[in-house]
Structures are given as structure tokens and as C-alpha cells.
């Protein structure tokens, strides 16, 4: 669906994008992660046909953003990180204007607008002036606008930035809904744990280079190397601790007396972990629960970008 080939963008001596390659399947939600200035917005601007790359190309549904920008515009709905609205235009007029801008007929627009407002929960704001809406509502309206020509691909640059938690949850629900409608969604965000929840794949960009790409679990596994395991013990904490200390694959053992929990880092494979657990049970240790501590994307992100800096 989306094919980015050797995409490079230079501003004078500064390289914003450095030979970026990325291929995305239809219908997935792709999370684009990176620090400010890493090249996320530049990539999205190129995909949205607002910016020409210095070299390389990007294809959306087989159409080149350089050679057939008008065809690409039909395929994409773009929501920039910062955007304004026209004062003195009402919500339905706002959507009507953009509908007309995509060449949608007047009768079709009349049917479409209430449906879109319903989708983004703005039905009761239909006749309000756009500039009087809250930020969260403006974001949702902008999303409705991006959907008006029924694009296959949605490019959302930081759609959750500056939103309060409730507005963020609403935005996430809408995006989930859009995913179920089969849209391919590209989303960039600083709110990383949220991306982990809804993205099929994430890509991490740093200094214009894609330094990791895959599904969330793969990336986590790839980066973590060792996992943090927490076990709950019914009694005899010190005995369990002694058992764990004997295993060379285990390090950083933390005993939480008050909660009867032990946490430790484990370097072994899943098969080795099975053996460890079996040995413990056979040794009659009173372990009643074992869980893997989830590292969220924030940690992953910090680890990756730090790693890239050190290189």
C-alpha cells in the first residue's frame, strides 16, 4: 500500500531524512515514533505531497508522490500537526468546503457530512462556528475533514498532541473505528504507550534514519534482550530467593517483603524459562504466579534513541 524508497530530504547541509526505506501493507496501523526533529513530519509532508524529496520516491497505492501528486491526494487524508481553521465558518460549512475541494457533488456532501460528524462525535456541534470549538473537537473535526473523500490512507501527524486525557481516549476510539473500516493509518505521536496499544507496527526514526521497524512485540524483544519477571510467593521468600540466585541466567533480584513478590531479570529463552519454572515447582517452592513485566513503548523508545546517539 505504501512504499517508501530511499527517501532523502536535505535542507542545505542539514539532512532531515536519510535514505528512508519503508514498506507498509494495506489496512495496518503504523506508528511512527521519534523525537522532535527526527524526521517524522518531513516524511509525512512528503507523503502528503506538500514537499518534494531531494531524492528517492514514495508510492501510495502504486502512485508516485512526485509524478502523480494529484492521484496521491485522492488516496490520502492528511492531518498536519499544527493546523488552523477559518473563523466565521460553521462546522457543516467547513466540511462542505473541503468536500467541494475534493470535487464531491453538493447532494453527496449533504448526505456525507452528518455521517462524518456522527463518526467523530460532533453531531450536536454541526451549526456551531468552528473557531469556538475546543482543541479536541477541532482535532476530531479535522479528522472528519481528512475522511471526506473516503481516502484509503490516513496520515495523522501527532493527532493526540495537546489533548486532555478524555479527548485522547475519544480520538483513540475513533481511530480504532477507522481501523475496523479497513483504512491504512499512519500515525505519529509522543504519547508512546497509546501507540503500542493500537498499532500493528511501529517504526522508530532518529536523525532521519529508520532505526527499527516491526510489530510492537518484535521491537520490544529485539531491544530488551532480557526480560523482567515478577513472581508471587505464598511463603518462604528467602528460600525462593536462594533458588533463584543459583541460576546464572538470572540477575538483579529484588525482593519485596511486604508484597511477597520477587522481581528479577531473565536472559534465557522461553524454553529455558519453562525448565526454570518446572524445577521450581518440583522443588516444592510455593510460587503461585509468574508474570512478565511489560515494558512500554516509552522505555523502548528511550532505549533505542539513546543507543543511536551513542553510535
Amino acid at each position: 500500500m505504501i512504499e517508501i524508497r530511499d527517501l532523502t530530504k536535505r535542507y542545505g547541509s542539514f539532512t532531515a531524512l536519510d535514505h528512508l526505506n519503508l514498506s507498509l501493507e494495506e489496512g495496518i496501523v503504523f506508528g511512527f515514533v521519534g523525537a522532535n526533529g527526527a524526521g517524522k513530519s518531513t516524511t509525512f509532508s512528503i507523503l502528503a505531497t506538500l514537499l518534494s524529496p531531494t531524492s528517492g520516491d514514495a508510492l501510495i497505492n502504486g502512485k508516485s508522490v512526485i509524478k502523480e501528486p494529484k492521484e496521491v491526494r485522492k488516496q490520502i487524508g492528511y492531518m498536519p500537526d499544527f493546523f488552523g481553521v477559518y473563523d466565521q465558518l460553521k462546522v457543516d460549512e467547513y466540511l462542505d468546503f473541503y468536500g467541494a475541494s475534493y470535487g464531491i457533488g453538493a447532494t453527496e456532501r449533504k448526505v456525507l457530512i452528518p455521517q462524518l460528524l456522527e463518526l467523530v462525535n460532533l453531531t450536536n456541534k454541526r451549526f456551531d462556528y468552528v473557531d469556538l470549538l475546543s482543541r479536541g473537537m477541532k482535532q476530531r473535526l479535522c479528522l472528519a475533514r481528512a475522511l471526506i473523500h473516503d481516502p484509503k490512507v490516513l496520515i495523522l501527524d501527532e493527532p493526540a498532541s495537546g489533548l486532555d486525557p478524555r479527548a485522547r481516549v475519544e480520538m483513540r476510539d475513533i481511530l480504532r473505528n477507522l481501523k475496523s473500516m479497513g483504512k491504512t493509518i499512519l500515525i505519529s505521536s509522543h504519547i508512546l504507550p497509546e501507540l503500542a496499544e493500537m498499532c500493528d507496527e511501529i517504526g522508530v526514526i532518529d536523525n532521519g534514519k529508520l532505526i527499527a521497524h516491526g510489530n510492537v512485540a518484535t521491537i520490544q524483544a529485539q531491544l530488551q534482550g532480557e526480560k523482567r519477571i515478577v513472581i508471587k510467593v505464598a511463603e518462604r521468600l528467602s528460600e525462593v530467593r536462594a533458588f533463584l540466585e543459583e541460576d546464572p541466567l538470572i540477575s538483579s533480584i529484588d525482593v519485596m517483603d511486604n508484597r511477597l513478590e520477587i522481581a528479577f531479570n531473565y536472559r534465557g529463552t522461553d524454553a529455558q524459562q519453562v525448565t526454570l519454572l518446572k524445577t521450581a515447582i518440583l522443588a516444592d517452592l510455593p510460587i503461585y504466579a509468574l508474570s512478565e513485566e511489560e515494558k512500554d513503548l516509552e522505555d523502548v523508545f528511550m532505549a533505542i534513541t539513546k543507543g543511536a546517539d551513542n553510535q
Binding site: 518534494s52 512526485i66 509524478k67 494529484k70 488552523g84
Partner: protein
């Protein structure tokens, strides 16, 4: 068929324009200036008695001054309507969204220009009843009035195109506005200065009517004020022909030059609208 000529930007701009208080205050200012001028003129010529008669020559004079005044007002107002066309969208961060729609650059630029021109036409029409007061007293033919209004339109479109062009190539509205006013000062003032300069040079060496000075003719013929004078009175055209030795109707030269200005400005604006894209489609 209607859909084919439907320009979303034009419709949106008109809607926004007529909703803003600025438009109505602008219109009011425009009509007030004309009202004050006409009232003042009538009072002066009747010596504040409100009675007496009004000779056709004086009526004609009022018409002439009113025509020039209206031209000056139109030149003064046009930049404020067009110089923000694209740059204000950029400042309000709405331009990027507009550029990702499937509208062509031409459609966007033309929509912006025509919405401003439409408002100026409305202004001219709103001033028409005041303007036609001169018909009460005679001395002016309707065909003259029609010609003058057509040339107002040409001038408005040309200045509007210049405004839209500067609005596209500069980042800030204020810069575009200054550049557009600069162009007006050139067309209205500097050309007059050059006219007098070339005329003086020309006269230094030659007796009037013996040689041809294309420059003198050219500077006069692209000046909106000079054009209006030749439209008001054919004597003015004859005087210029005698002075410069070029006997070619000023209005044709004016029309040609201004059409070139319109085409050039709009081409630049359309090319530069998607400046960050190499191809302009």
C-alpha cells in the same frame, strides 16, 4: 455543468468576506468618502445656498474628479483585499490542508482573486447611485460611464493579480501588502513622474509635433489616472498624441499592458503556490 464552474475557494471566500464586519466597514468608508466629496462639491458650487443653478460644465468637472477619486479609492482598497489571499492562509495554518485537496493551483489562485474582485465590483455598484447624480445635471454620456467601469474592472483585476502574486511568493501578509502598494505607487505615481521626465527631455530638443517619443506615450498610457482622463475627455487623448507624436488610442495600450500584467502575475502565483513541490500539479 454548474459543478464544472463551481470554485470552492471562491464560494468559501465570499461567504467569509460577507460575514466579516471589516467588509461592511470598508464599504461604508468608501461610500462615505464619495458622499462627502459630492456633497462638498455641490455645496461649494452653489455657494452654500442650496439653491441656484448647476451648469453642465461644472457637472462634467464633478464627473471627472469623481472618476479619478474613485480610481484612487479602488487602487487603495484592492491590495488590502488581495495581498492576504494566500499568505493569510499560510499564517492561519490552513494552507497545507488546502494544498492536499485535489484542487489545482489554478483553481485556488483564481478563486482567491475573483472573490476579491467580486467584492470590489460590489463596491463600485454600490457607489453607482451616487455616481449617477451627474446624470441629473447632464454633460456625461452613458457610454462613457460604461467604458470607465470596464477599465475599473481591468485595473482591479490587474492590481488584484499583483496582490495575489506577492501574497503567494512572500511568507507574510504585511510584506505582500507593502509590495502591492509599491506596485500601485509605481503604476500611479512613478509612471506620471517618468512621463513628465521623458516629456521634458523630448521637448528640449524638438518642437512639439515634429518627432515621436514612444516613451512619453508609454508612461502616460499605463497610468490609470491618465487613462481615465482620456476616457473622460477625448481632448486629453488628442493632446497626448500631439505631445508624443504617437497617435494610437491610449485605452488599447493600457488594456494590452494590463492583460500582460494579469497573465504574468497569475502565472507566477500558480507556479509558486506549491513552492515546496518540484512539479506543480
Amino acid at each position: 455543468m454548474m459543478e464544472r464552474f463551481y470554485n470552492p475557494v471562491l464560494v468559501k471566500e465570499l461567504k467569509l468576506r460577507f460575514r466579516s464586519f471589516k467588509s461592511f466597514s470598508g464599504l461604508m468608508f468608501y461610500l462615505a468618502v464619495i458622499c462627502i466629496f459630492i456633497a462638498g462639491f455641490l455645496l461649494l458650487t452653489t455657494e452654500f445656498t442650496g439653491k441656484g443653478f448647476f451648469r453642465p460644465e461644472i457637472s462634467f468637472m464633478m464627473f471627472a474628479v469623481l472618476t479619478i477619486l474613485q480610481m484612487a479609492l479602488v487602487l487603495f482598497i484592492t491590495p488590502s483585499l488581495t495581498a492576504g489571499a494566500i499568505s493569510s492562509e499560510r499564517e492561519k495554518q490552513t494552507l497545507n490542508i488546502l494544498l492536499t485537496t485535489t484542487q489545482s493551483s489554478t483553481q485556488i489562485v483564481i478563486g482567491k482573486l475573483f472573490s476579491s474582485v467580486a467584492f470590489l465590483v460590489l463596491m463600485l455598484i454600490a457607489g453607482l447611485p451616487l455616481y449617477s447624480l451627474v446624470f441629473l445635471f447632464g454633460g456625461v454620456s452613458p457610454s462613457q460611464l460604461v467604458a470607465i467601469f470596464l477599465f475599473y474592472l481591468v485595473t482591479v483585476i490587474a492590481i488584484g493579480s499583483i496582490g495575489v502574486m506577492f501574497s503567494t511568493i512572500t511568507k507574510k501578509t504585511i510584506v505582500a501588502m507593502i509590495a502591492t502598494y509599491g506596485s500601485i505607487i509605481f503604476l500611479g505615481g512613478i509612471t506620471a513622474f517618468f512621463f513628465f521626465l521623458t516629456m521634458a527631455f523630448h521637448q528640449m530638443g524638438n518642437a512639439i509635433g515634429t518627432s515621436v517619443s514612444y516613451m512619453t506615450y508609454f508612461w502616460a498610457s499605463i497610468n490609470p489616472g491618465a487613462l481615465m482622463l482620456t476616457l473622460i475627455s477625448s481632448d486629453m487623448g488628442d493632446a497626448l498624441a500631439e505631445l508624443s507624436g504617437v497617435d494610437f488610442p491610449v485605452w488599447i495600450t493600457y488594456l494590452l499592458v494590463y492583460i500582460v500584467i494579469i497573465v504574468l502575475s497569475l502565472t507566477v502565483a500558480i507556479k509558486k503556490l506549491r513552492a515546496n513541490m518540484k512539479s506543480n500539479r
